[in-house]
C-alpha cells in the first residue's frame, strides 16, 4: 500500500493505482475522457492534468515544490517508496488536483474540446449522461472565445447498430482501443490528420465499407464513448436518460451472467447496459445480451391463462385454469407426472417447483428445460458462452437438491415425457423452437401444462398455458457457469394478469394441500440457504449487488 497526500487528504491506496482512481476512491473528481479503467492509457485528452510535487534538482533535501510540468493523472501511478525517498518522511507521493494551475489547465482543455463540438445537446442522445456536458458544467468556462468556422465532418453508419456523429467526436480513441484490445477485431481507426481526425471503418476509395463494425461486442463502444458521437440505433431518439429508472440485474443471454443495469420506464424496458464486475464481465457485455431484451416489451406477451377446449386454445380465468390443473393432477399416479424446471427461471422459482414435486406430488421425475445450445465466441478479453441460459448451474443444483442430484435432461427427459400422462413444464424461454424428438414427446402427453411468457411452439401444444414473468419483472437469483450467485431485481410490472412463476406453482401446490406459503422471493432464498448444500450464504441480503461465489 502506498501512503499519499492527495490535496489535503492523507490516504492509503494500492501500489500501482493511478491518481484518477485514487481520487475517485476518495470522492474527488479528476475529469478525464480518454482514460477508461478497462483500456490502455494513451493520455491524449489531457483533461486529467494534476500537479505533482517533488524535490527540484539542486534544491536541498527535504524541499518540496510543484514539478514544472503538470502530469496526467491517468498515467501517474503511485508506489511505495523506499524509506529514504519519502516526502515529509511519510508520503510516497504528494499530488494536488485543486491548484489554480490545474483548474486553469482544465478550463483551457475544455475550451479546445468545445472548439469544433456542435451545441446540439437538445437533440443529442447522450445529453444528460455526457462527460463533456458534465465536465464543462463543473470545470469549464462559461463562454468560448472561438469565432471561426467549425469543422463539420460527416455522419457515418458504422455497422448494424452503431452510428457515428463525427461532429461530436473528441477523438479520445476509446472506441479504437476497445476494438483492438477487448474485442481484438480492430474495425475502427483514425483517418486524416490533425483537426481533421475522424474515426472510421475501413473503406474503399469510393467510400464503400470494406468491413463494418459488427462484432459481437460492438455495442460497448457506445457505452464508453464519453460524448454523443457513437450512438446505438436501437436506442436512438427513444428516451432522455433522466426519464428512465435504473435497476441492477443480470443478463439472461448466456451462462456468463454479465452484470447489467436495466433502464426502464412505466411502459417497458428501454435499454440494457453493462455494469462493472471485476471477475465476471469487467465493464463489458455482448450485443446478444444488450439487444436481446426486446421480448420483454413484446405486444404478444402472454397476459391471461389459456385453456385448450376441443383442440382450440382460448382465454380463461386463473381460477378456472388452476382448478382444471388440480383436477388433472389428482387423477393420475405420481409416477405418471413429470415436472420440468427451467434454466431461464430463478433459483427461487425452481426451488418452489422442486418442493411442489417432492412434497405435494411425490414424484421424482424432475427435468430441466432450457434454451438450445448456441455458439461460443471468444475474444481476447471476453467470452460469450455456448449455453444460452443464465441459470443452468443453479437449476441443476436446486432441482436435484432433494433428489440425490438426479435431474432429467435431454434424451432421458424426453423419454420420460413420452411415457408420462401429465407434464408440468415451466419454460419462460423466449422464441424456443422444438426439435423433432422434443415435439414428438410433448405431443404424446395426455395433459400438458406450460408456464411461459410468449406464444411459442411449446405453448401451442399445451392444454393449459399459464402466463409467467421475465427477468425484468421479478426478483431472484441466478447461478452462472463459474459459480457466482447473483441477484436480479424487479424493474417493471408483469403484463396483464401474468404472475411470478413461483407464485403460480405455489398456488397449484396450495390447492393440492401443499404446506408451504412464501410471500416474497427473499424468503425462498432463506429456505434455499437452509436446505441446499453449497448455498449456505446465498440469501438475498448477503448476495447484494456484488454477488457471491459458491465454495
Amino acid at each position: 500500500m502506498a501512503f499519499i497526500k492527495l490535496n489535503d487528504l492523507e490516504i492509503e491506496v494500492e501500489d500501482g493505482t493511478n491518481i484518477v482512481e485514487a481520487a475517485r476512491q476518495n470522492g474527488i473528481e479528476v475529469p478525464h475522457y480518454c482514460y477508461h479503467p478497462g483500456l490502455t492509457r494513451p493520455a491524449n485528452c489531457r483533461m486529467c492534468l494534476i500537479e505533482t510535487y517533488g524535490t527540484p534538482p539542486g534544491a536541498p533535501p527535504g524541499t518540496i515544490a510543484p514539478d514544472r510540468q503538470l502530469a496526467t493523472g491517468c498515467t501517474t501511478t503511485v508506489r511505495t517508496a523506499p524509506p529514504d525517498r519519502k516526502y515529509e518522511e511519510k508520503f510516497d507521493a504528494i499530488v494536488r488536483t485543486d491548484t489554480p494551475r490545474v483548474i486553469t489547465a482544465r478550463e483551457d482543455i475544455l475550451e479546445f474540446l468545445l472548439v469544433h463540438h456542435p451545441l446540439d445537446c437538445p437533440v443529442c442522445d447522450q445529453a444528460g449522461e455526457c462527460d463533456l456536458q458534465d465536465y464543462s458544467h463543473r470545470h469549464g468556462r462559461d463562454q468560448s472565445r472561438y469565432v471561426e468556422v467549425k469543422n463539420i465532418p460527416p455522419k457515418k453508419d458504422l455497422g448494424p447498430d452503431i452510428l457515428l456523429y463525427s461532429t461530436r467526436c473528441i477523438v479520445c480513441t476509446r472506441c479504437i482501443r476497445f476494438c483492438e484490445e477487448v474485442s481484438g477485431t480492430g474495425e475502427l481507426g483514425l483517418i486524416n490528420r490533425g483537426s481533421h481526425d475522424e474515426i472510421d471503418i475501413p473503406r474503399s476509395h469510393q467510400g464503400n465499407p470494406i468491413q463494418v463494425l459488427d462484432n459481437k461486442l460492438a455495442g460497448n463502444v457506445v457505452d464508453i464513448c464519453p460524448v454523443g458521437a457513437l450512438i446505438s440505433k436501437d436506442f436512438l431518439f427513444k428516451s432522455r436518460p433522466w426519464f428512465m429508472e435504473k435497476q441492477n440485474s443480470i443478463c439472461t443471454g448466456c451462462s456468463v451472467g454479465c452484470n447489467i443495469t436495466v433502464e426502464y420506464k412505466e411502459d417497458g424496458v428501454y435499454r440494457v447496459k453493462p455494469r462493472f464486475h471485476e471477475d465476471i464481465n469487467q465493464h463489458w457485455m455482448c450485443d446478444d445480451g444488450r439487444l436481446g431484451y426486446h421480448y420483454v416489451n413484446r405486444e404478444d406477451r402472454l397476459q391471461l391463462p389459456l385453456k385448450k377446449v376441443d383442440g382450440q386454445q382460448s382465454v380463461t380465468q386463473w381460477s378456472d385454469a388452476l382448478t382444471t390443473i388440480t383436477e388433472k393432477l389428482s387423477e393420475v399416479e405420481a409416477d405418471d407426472i413429470v415436472v420440468i424446471g427451467s434454466a431461464q427461471a430463478t433459483n427461487e422459482d425452481n426451488y418452489v417447483l422442486q418442493l411442489f414435486a417432492h412434497n405435494v406430488l411425490n414424484t421424482t421425475h424432475l427435468g430441466l428445460f432450457g434454451q438450445l445450445p448456441g455458439e461460443e465466441h471468444k475474444f481476447p478479453q471476453f467470452t460469450i458462452e455456448s449455453d444460452k441460459n443464465p441459470n443452468t448451474a443453479g437449476a441443476r443444483t436446486i432441482l436435484g437438491s432433494a433428489n440425490g442430484n438426479v435431474v432429467l435432461e435431454d434424451d432421458a427427459l424426453w423419454e420420460k415425457v413420452a411415457n408420462a400422462k401429465v407434464v408440468y413444464l415451466v419454460s419462460g424461454i423466449p422464441d424456443r423452437t422444438l426439435q423433432d424428438a422434443e415435439k414428438a414427446a410433448l405431443e404424446n402427453v395426455d395433459f400438458l401444462i406450460v408456464q411461459d411468457i410468449l406464444p411459442s411452439e411449446v405453448t401451442e401444444l399445451a392444454d393449459i398455458v399459464l402466463p409467467g414473468t421475465t427477468f425484468a419483472e421479478k426478483d431472484g437469483t441466478f447461478t452462472n457457469s463459474s459459480g457466482w450467485v447473483q441477484r436480479i431485481r424487479k424493474a417493471i410490472d408483469p403484463p396483464g394478469e401474468a404472475q411470478l412463476d413461483w407464485q403460480i406453482t405455489q398456488q397449484i401446490a396450495t390447492q393440492l394441500g401443499g404446506e408451504f406459503n412464501y410471500s416474497f422471493s427473499g424468503e425462498i432464498s432463506i429456505a434455499i440457504s437452509e436446505n441446499v448444500q453449497g448455498y449456505e450464504d446465498a440469501t438475498h441480503q448477503k448476495i447484494g449487488d456484488e454477488g457471491i461465489k459458491l465454495a
Binding site: 489531457r46 483533461m47 472565445r145
Partner: protein, 492 residues
Amino acid sequence: MVQERRILYEHLDVPNINTFDVYRQHDGYKGFEKAIAEYQPDDISKMVMDSGLKGRGGAGFSTGLKWSFVPKDIEPRYLCCNADESEPGTFSNRYVLEKNPHLLIEGILICCYAMGIETTYVYIRGEFTLGKKMLDAALEEAYQQGYLGDNIKDTGINVNIYTHPGAGAYICGEETGLIESLEGKRGQPRNKPPFPAVEGVFMKPTVVQNVETLCNLPFIVDKGVEWYTEMGPTYGDARFDPPKPDQNTGTKLYCISGDVNEPGVYELELGLTCSELIEVAGGLRGEEVKAVIPGGSSAPILTHYELDTRLDFTSLTLAKSMLGSGGIIVMNETRNIVDCLLNIMKFYAHESCGQCTPCRWGTPWVRDIVQRIADGEGRQEKITRPKFGIAEGGRWGDTGETEEIYEDLDLLESVANNIANVDTMTWNTICVFGIAVSWPAVSYMRKFRPEFEAAIREGKLVTLSVEEATVPPEENYAFQQRIIPKEMSELA
C-alpha cells in the same frame, strides 16, 4: 571575417566520395578502425561524454548522457538514426546522405560498437529519394567490403543497417513519433517517460540520434577529444559554485536561407554571432535585417536588436530562443511578419498529428486567427489587460499598470500559450510540437506587435519599416530577460 571550418563537409565536394574507394582514400573508416583497434566500447562512450557533443537534431541534449541512460542488460538494443529532416529551413542532413553516405555509416558503426548494438534503422524522410538511393548503394558497398554484416573485420562485431522511408509527416521527426512510424503504426508521439533510451523501438532500449550527431563521431574518435573540444565555446553555469562547465563544442552545419546573397549550408564552429553568420553567407540581400529565425521555423524569432546573440545551444536558450536544427532564415525590411507567421502557422496546423487535444484543435485555431488578421478582418475591439514590462527592481514582470490590446492579438497569444506556455516553458501536450507552435506565434506577435496592430487597424497587411515594426528593446520580453553566458575563461 569568420572562416568556414569544414570537418563533416571536408570531402563533400570530392567527386565520387559516395563510393567506398574514394571515401577510403580520404581517411574513410579510419575513425571506426581506430575505435575497434584501440578502444573498448566504454572508452568510446566516455570520449563522447567528454567531448561535450550535443544532439544536433533540435533539443541539444548531451549525447554522452543519453547513451548513459541505456540499460546495458536488456537485449536487443537498437540504434535509430533520425534522417527525417523536415524542419522548415533545414537542409544539412540531406547533403550528407546524398553526397557522403559512408560518413554516416561510419558514425553508425562507432555508435553501435560503443553501445553493443547490432541493428540500426535509418528513418529517412520520404522526399529524400536521392538520399535514400545513395545511402542504399553505400550500404551495399559496405556490406561487400565487410564493414557491415556479421563479424565485421574479424572482430566479432555484427552490425546491420536498414533504411526505412517516411511517408511525409513532420511529426515523424519527433523521436517517439518516428519510432511509432517505424513500427508500422500511425506516426503519433508517445508519452514520456519511458524515454526511448529505456523503451524505444519494439519496446527495447533505443538510441535515437540525428544524422549530423552520428557524423561527428568518426572525428571525435579519430582526432581525439582534446582536438574536438577546442572548437566552440565552453560556458560556465554561474548558478553553481564553482561554475559548472557547459560545453558547446564542435562545428554545426548552419543552413542559411532567406534574404542573404549566398544561401546554403555552412559548417562553422559553434558560438559565432548572428551578424557574423550573415556575413559568412555573402551578406544581407536588401537594406536592413528585420528579423532572423535562428533554428528552424519553430524557434522564436530574433529582432535586429538581438543580432549579437551567439548561435550556440546555451546562448540561444538563455536568449529565450533555440538553436534547434540550425536552420537560419534571414528576413529583410521587405518582409511582413504577419505574413511570415501565417505561412508558418499554416504549416503547423497542417502537420499537427491530432493525437492530443490542445495541439489538435489549438493549432488550426491559431492559424485561423492569423489568417483573419492577414486578410484584414481582425476585430477592432480592444480589451484592457495587465501590462508586462520592466517592473520594480528592473526585472521583467507585471508592472501593475494596464494596457490596451486588440482582442484578436490577446486571443492569439492566449490560445498559443494554452497549447504550450512560452513564459513558464510548460506544455499541456504530449510532445514538444506544442511549444514549436506557440514559440513562433507568441514571439512574432510580441516582438513585432506594431505590424500586427497595423494590419488590424488598417484592415490589410501593412509592411512597416524595421524600426516601426519592431517593439523597442525595453518592451521586448526576450531581450529584457536574456542572459548572456560567460565563457569559463572569463569567469575564472
